[in-house]
Symmetry: C2
Subunit: 268 residues, 2 copies
């Protein structure tokens, strides 16, 4: 385990704690997840500060800008400079959108776990449309992918504080990312796809987090046809999945799973 831990050095930190077991007290060390504030400056304007795990920060910035509608392609980014010491990433875009859009501000002011869509109305959601994909997968594909996903979620198991996300085809994990925020983990995946020209077409997203409407909109923007989680969806998440023709699978446990939408993509 100690070797695994070293590999994850940037994501977690050893601190001193006092463990109580009934009335016994033991001073010892334990791992906790790191929480790092990353400020995104877009075309000279402070856009957002993300509380995140300090790994894959450029992917996170690119994915965030994509998810929030500030960029569509890698070519729009003319410069990206990460200052890890100061926790700042400066991004310049070509003909880029600016923070002055009141609609952006309104949309992201939210609470709880993630960003808000004011009311669910597909026509309002910039660039989101039904997912058009003929991909099919078997229950066994889902069980195998979930098993491999759990195996790789090492930081989560060690510190109990980190979410994971993965981009997969029906057989294998293509990209894997971890972050203290479930939205960040998904943004890191899509940011890597954007910056490294990795296709998301006909691919599958696995997330360790709850599936709410916001995550559905995020994967729909990349035309992802299948989303899988060991957690539960919300009712609004299910409605959005049905409307956008996304296969939504939750509560994957061993050889069991619940399919909440788009079950026609499952074939034995």
């Amino acid at each position: 385990m100690d070797n695994d831990m070293k590999a994850q050095g940037t994501m977690q930190k050893k601190i001193k704690i006092v463990r109580f077991d009934r009335n016994d007290q033991i001073a010892r060390e334990d791992w906790v997840a790191r929480e790092f504030p990353l400020t995104i400056i877009l075309n000279g304007q402070e856009l957002a500060t993300l509380l995140c795990s300090p790994k894959d920060l450029k992917y996170l910035a690119a994915g965030f800008l994509f998810s929030e509608g500030f960029i569509e392609t890698k070519e729009e980014i003319t410069e990206m400079i990460l200052d890890r010491q100061r926790g700042v990433v400066k991004v310049q875009t070509r003909g880029g959108k600016e923070l002055t859009q009141a609609s952006f501000l309104k949309r992201v002011i939210t609470t709880g776990c993630g960003r808000a869509i004011a009311f669910y109305n597909p026509a309002d959601i910039d660039g989101v449309q039904e997912v058009d994909s003929d991909v099919r997968l078997s229950p066994l594909n889902v069980f195998n992918l979930t098993k491999e996903f759990q195996r790789r979620s090492a930081v989560y198991r060690a510190t109990g504080g980190v979410h994971s996300a993965a981009l997969c085809d029906t057989e294998d994990i293509v990209i894997f990312a971890e972050d203290i925020g479930r939205h960040n983990a998904v943004d890191k995946i899509f940011g890597k796809c954007l910056l490294e020209d990795i296709s998301t077409s006909d691919r599958i997203v696995i997330t360790s987090g709850r599936i709410s409407s916001e995550i559905l909109f995020k994967v729909a923007k990349r035309q992802i046809p299948v989303i899988i989680s060991k957690s539960a969806p919300t009712d609004l998440g299910v409605i959005v999945a049905q409307d956008l023709r996304i296969t939504l699978i939750g509560f994957t446990r061993g050889k069991r799973m619940n399919v909440y939408a788009g079950e026609w993509r499952l074939q034995s």
Copy 2:
């Protein structure tokens, strides 16, 4: 169990799913957590849309306005009208702060699970100071409170998608709230305290969620001396707890727990 479920009717909904067990498919009904967009209009201006569980909405609005620094006391609220159909709560405040404060906008633009504090610097945090409380508690107090807290987290157990939060004294739970967002659950508790003149002095907060710096700032604003979670804190959460003299207890499991800060408040 069906009676429990009826009592939670506003928080969850029965939907049709397909359950796969190995290769067997069974069409059945299952419960999912509801996700409700609540827009807060403060003094005629749209302030935020919270994605939340549709229960205790006035408490949520009041708690959110307090946590974000728009109100300090109940008396500042001159009117609060909830339109449940439209998902809107209109709040009028006396001499109230307005959305034009750029600092508010910058502060809450964030990702992942919650709102961001740009950089950790106590002097920057409006109204947050060291918690001054002589309260002491025993490990047994913590184990008993945690046990009762778990017992009451009924919606979470049924749907796997809801967070809980509670305000306690050393012996009993005083207020209990649930929400799909861990920040919302805590805001509901503090909103109820505000609107119903319930003291938070020398009291304890239990949350089902991860303890990040944001939650620490939120409880510090109410001078809460102890926070407990079955989940893990982040490193920044631990630093903030130490600096603000808050006792931070995580990973409570049965008769075991980890104390990350302020262990002097624990006495057998």
